[in-house]
Symmetry: C2
Subunit: 369 residues, 2 copies
């Protein structure tokens, strides 16, 4: 297998290092705008040098961002090359374009490292689908948010302090919006739901709330009631369709999720035969991510395509009702008073997310049963 | 794929039910000493009716026990049939006979359900081995022991009470020896280590201590020191070889292992690229186990063989030194007094297991770091 790497940052360099140790695959070209010199691969600055090179059968996209990654991946597929990408924003955003194109061109297309980093999550979904119907997917899918919430919970820090420490340690970016507002988890749960359920979700039907409004006082109230807050992405089959959303959620202190430390991920599926299966590991980082890119390369070499067939467009319905912790201006039904905040009566996911949009000082978290 | 089922108990019946829903495989014969009548499969009482039936390409062994399961599996392989087994005692005990035979005969041989039930653990090891060297495997591999220890820890029950409840609920057998003395975990960690490291362990080099000597007072001491006791199977690469053993171990209350409830399993590998990956799910039960038998059938149909090449005979060395909780007659070095019990200085795994053999009233658990 002859590989061209697009991008030579954290993940790209990891892929290069791992493949150098193998005899079954070789990175022969690297697209990189900086001047680099590699002993056994040619650095190129123009994508044409890769697209027009017939000796290259597989392209690894490790550039990040949507553009020009999308155009390059599309062109690679159109040139008959397999594509492996670790870019969740790309694969999620252009799911309806890239998946049918890959299937039409008969090229391999894998993105296991896009969700869960070192956890082989998307290939677990593919394996599970061979034998059973999946009922639910999701969990702790963003290491940055888990790091911040874990720090606030264990060390009593406030949000700003915990974020700063995450940034200092490289667990959060200088502009942390994508992570802390839940966008990263949103991409991951949409992609996971598409693959698990064989659908193609409308983005605007999947609501997202992040963790940036959380205060140290919220965390203290959770602890007083035996609860821990985690940012969860959830996708569920319901009676009539699918419920898919991203939000802070309160889990019991003795739940597995509550004890996920640092920047780790814990992702779960529930199948109608296997019941609950959970996967725990490093959700990001050079080597865990590059590891699953190389796993994808092994699968592509063995002739594997995408994880699931392309499914028709679907709107998440989110009429599922939950109880919620709310701090700040809740004027609906209340079932418990938590001293400065409340536990609401049953409110649908759609209604609570709509309410949060018009109450920018409020913080809400669902209460998991 | 035409399948013969050997045995029609808990797992066998589950496999039959799941395969009935599929078009790519069919159970056509069932070996069962009782009189049963099935709409679409023939019940037979003589193994020859299966061995001599050329339409049958694959045999699922779900009888349990070593004999005649071993003779039947061997004969099936010799007749050129693929074998899928959920029987960890069989696959572990006859690893040196069955694995080379399957490879010689060119038949598929899978046993994913043998370790971790619904967790696809052995196939996870197979996948990991494609890209990295495994450093460590193991964890909570026996649901019965986890149920008993969890009950003692959360509800303050004593061992006998917790065992009785596990028996009443079907989580422990009438004769619980295999589970509570760690034999089941011992089979599982030997098999896992063989596959993870490409070796074939000498059984008598792998020491095992179970949980039957544990008292409610031990559990109270662990809680007072922020610890929880779990039965762990551990296999590690060391400087010179391999350290492989089964023993009670004390983990911190906020470790993932500490929060594994009921009869669940949590099994982990550490790889030199992916770092730590853990898998959580039902370690036993009809449908989780049958689920992975059917996953194996899908893999066998796709041409997959065993998980790893057959490795040469190896002795575990177990010179690794640990600190231990000991209640009862410890006369060696002591690093802490736990009021009726002690924490020892560093003692090797081999030495502590040898000491326990001559001190039948003592209970010991390693202190995990």
């Amino acid at each position: 297998m002859k590989i061209a790497l697009l991008g030579f940052g954290v993940v790209g360099r990891g892929v290069y290092e791992i493949t150098r140790e193998r005899s079954d695959m070789q990175v022969t070209k690297v697209l990189c705008l900086e001047d680099i010199s590699l002993p056994d691969a040619q650095a190129v600055k123009n994508i044409r040098d890769i697209l027009e090179d017939d000796s290259i059968d597989t392209v690894v996209e490790a550039m990040g961002g949507l553009h020009p990654a999308y155009e390059f991946v599309r062109a690679a597929m159109e040139a008959g090359k397999n594509v492996v990408s670790s870019n969740k924003a790309l694969v999620c955003t252009y799911y309806r374009e890239l998946l049918p194109l890959a299937q039409k061109m008969g090229v391999g297309f894998r993105s296991t490292a896009a969700v869960g980093g070192g956890i082989g999550w998307l290939s677990e979904l593919e394996r599970a689908r061979r034998v059973q119907t999946l009922r639910q997917v999701g969990g702790i899918m963003n290491g940055t948010c888990n790091y911040i919430l874990d720090n606030m919970t264990r060390l009593g820090k406030d949000y700003t302090e915990a974020l700063k420490q995450a940034q200092a340690l490289g667990y959060a970016e200088a502009n942390p919006t994508t992570d802390v507002e839940g966008i990263d988890t949103w991409h991951k749960i949409i992609l996971s739901s598409n693959i698990a359920f064989g659908i193609s979700l409308d983005f605007d039907s999947v609501p997202v709330a992040g963790i940036s409004r959380i205060l140290a006082e919220d965390i203290r109230r959770f602890a007083a009631h035996g609860r821990v807050c985690k940012l969860l992405g959830i996708g569920k089959r319901t009676e009539d369709g699918f419920s898919v959303y991203v939000q802070p959620a309160l889990v019991g202190q003795d739940q597995l999720e509550a004890n996920v430390p640092m920047n780790y991920n814990l992702i779960t599926f529930v199948g109608d035969i296997s019941d609950r299966m959970s996967f725990y590991g490093q959700g990001a980082g050079r080597y865990p991510t590059a590891y699953n890119v190389v796993q994808d390369l092994v699968d592509v070499a063995a002739g594997k395509g995408f994880y699931a067939p392309y499914g028709v467009g679907t709107k998440a319905d989110n009429t599922e009702t939950l109880s919620w912790y709310v701090r700040g201006g809740w004027d609906g039904q209340i079932s418990e008073d938590w001293d400065g905040a409340v536990i609401t009566g049953k409110v649908s996911v759609a209604d609570m997310h709509a309410w949060l949009k018009t109450h920018s000082d409020a913080f809400a978290a669902s209460v998991q049963e």
